[in-house]
Symmetry: D3
Subunit: 178 residues, 6 copies
């Protein structure tokens, strides 16, 4: 029987958060840990939407915090599945920060989280395939294999020399564009 | 003037958290985002202790969530600085989960976060050097360069072909042991 | 000088929340007060986007809670300005609840909140006009006068006999369609 | 068998809250949504006390936010049932805000919420009648029919022309005095 | 100039809390620490009301937790000043727990907290005297000296042999009746 | 059968908290109630570790709040069992407050909490004996009887004249040294 398929837009989720005092450090900037917590929630919902299953976080990829987000800013997170494997999914998250009274808005972060779909007993379960539609979605889809190998190598579950996709990264600069 | 030096044990911090209902997903397991939030807090305190400065999160490395932590479990996080650069520090975090009534305890996660020390105006500022003492601390110290190059490559701030330390990873399996 | 104008889509905001244990009553259903809190946040952001100002909540219209939302459900709130007056705005909010594993999704609530745009000293300040674009937006725009009169009458700031728009409601059934 | 009766004072509840940083907006004023959340909790407890049952929020009437409440203020909410129907109750809530060091105290808000009493399976269940005692309680009791018709009309569950009690509002100015 | 006086009823505060999932331990009972937090808030407000000043917690007397309070219970705390000294006050707190659907209500705890009134710079400042009115208030007022000596002895700020009031406790059984 | 024994170090727990805005009063100092909540959590975990059981808080001894802890400070709490009885334990807690940028650190509080170990049905259950090792642990162990009598007298469960250990306090100054 043919496996069910879904588009990235089927799992797209938008979450908006207001930065409140308890979310900030002594410089009045959003703490990194709070942002990661929001990233986890929004991407878990995207993974649920793709799989129609309970999902558990499997990994969070390297996140770089370059831009300070301030108290009172509006943070918008969008997440959509970038590639599905057997029972696991990679989700791509973009974060925008906006200071509305001053009219500034910028893309502050992007990240990849992975999730495993499980049944009520917590056992991994098959999920639909993902068929990318736009050019950007295709790029994210293609880069997912490299990122997956990097995760496996970093988790000591793949030998570096077997990470063929990943090696290209260092010879051909094929690092993901996002 | 010689730069001040500190030992990893000078920045060592232990944090203990009890997993409460709002920290869990529908399987009654700790949500990954909550754990990352705790990791950020404990490692920020370690970075503060090393630098005696306000610090801001610069990055969180790839985190793999292999083990479920359950409602009612006691989570112990320890963090210490693994290497200091000019104004930035890498912090190594270990997470243990313990179900006390059933007598089970296991190392559930480890992670690396980096922080930048800043003055009151938010500008980066020099910090003490780190001098590792134990063998484990020396290993963490040595691996820090590779992890730093990986962060820079992933953040598109270093070309893959210039990441000489990192390349060894794929030829010599020198991935960090933790 | 002509007053600036904006479209409803300029202020559209989407917020997604996961129903956690502390959000629920003893029947494991989302508490009404928590939902109103989320409605207030999402509509305040919409009002900020329209006005590019700090905003304060002026009123919440009658809200009817017909459908139970359960623990673990995903709640999606969308808000957009439905009409602008001198310094105040009416915002229309729709709430959808979704149980992803069971594949059910329904429109659970709609509501109107009003906000006043203020300067840093808390004084009301002029805001752009709203120009509706779609048929639905036009309807919301038209109904805003009736709802405004109802608010003024209920707040004892308009005599019932002067509420001409509102009176039609009881003679011509022109209650807003949402 | 005669139905059990209760007095408004049997369900009277007082709740006191201190306005903390996370309850406030960027002007350091209490956010409307937080206040509505507190209103919901205090009135749910009043409804529980009248019915000795689990209750679910059925509606919140129009709330007008005229007065700013500030960080550090003490907010006192009192709630009591104003009229009981078969399985539903209307609860009247008064809110006082007090800045103790400056010695100011004022009635900042009033509101009506309705609740349905349910059994463990969530089915509506009969509740005691309410017998008003004071003049103010009688007035609240009498106005409850008008407010109920307004709720039904606004929820499209009653045709405006059938809302006889409500119509008087616009001809005789019988809007509730509170 | 005669010092201002106040009655215990001038500072009386009632706080009502609903026991939510995050307030409970793995037996679904209210955690002691949460209850102490509520006690601190309600008694701080009482101390503010007596002194019309900012107050800081000076001590919490021995608290005994004899009765379990359960998830979903309604907790009512009342606090009033029991005696005023120069700049410090003792506050008496009673806690009632109620399971409304089952119709059970009992006094679960009582406690004494002390507070110091301070000016904006944090320096202790004179407060009004307290004049007890009822017999119970007189008893609480009289016992306050004994409890104060016990606090001072336990804090090593009074030698046990100088605690004359306290010594009576062990010879005449004059321990406070509450 | 010989009863199992444990050392104080077997139950030692360290908890680290960062003082966030919502933990503070209007002077930006940590609220006493929040600190007591943290004390309860850390000492409950120590009691769990000693007994390998679910534990419930039985009492909190007199706590004196002499030192202000400020917003942004790092609070370190350590707890270990000081004496075990049949099914109850006394836990000793030390609290250190640290302002890292200014390099100040001081012992701010100490406290004793007691807990009862219970089975799943909530019934008290036997726990291991505690064998003190260091001189400080022996002192805490010895003083536990006096503190226990004080608790019983204050809770009206022992007549003052029977509290032989406690009486020494007032004749020989044997109050606990901590």
């Amino acid at each position: 029987m043919a496996k069910q398929t879904k588009k990235p837009s089927d799992s797209c989720v938008t979450m908006t958060e207001l930065v409140l005092p308890n979310d900030t450090n002594t410089l009045n900037n959003l703490m990194g840990g709070r942002l990661m917590h929001w990233m986890d929630v929004v991407s878990a919902i995207a993974a649920q939407k793709h799989s129609n299953r309970i999902v558990v976080t499997a990994s969070a990829d390297n996140i770089s915090f370059n831009h300070a987000i301030e108290l009172g800013d509006v943070v918008t997170l969008t997440a959509k599945v970038s590639r599905a494997f057997n029972s696991s999914m990679e989700v791509y998250i973009e974060v925008y920060a906006e200071n509305i009274p001053s009219g500034t808005k910028f893309k502050s972060h992007s990240a990849f989280f992975t999730f495993v779909a499980v049944d009520q007993g917590g056992r991994p379960i098959d999920i639909p395939e993902l068929i990318p539609e736009t050019e950007e979605e295709q790029e994210l889809y293609d880069g997912a294999l490299r990122r997956r190998q990097l995760r496996l190598v970093l988790a000591k579950r793949m030998k570096p020399e077997e990470a063929t996709e990943l090696k290209n990264l260092f010879f051909e600069g094929q690092i993901d564009k996002k």
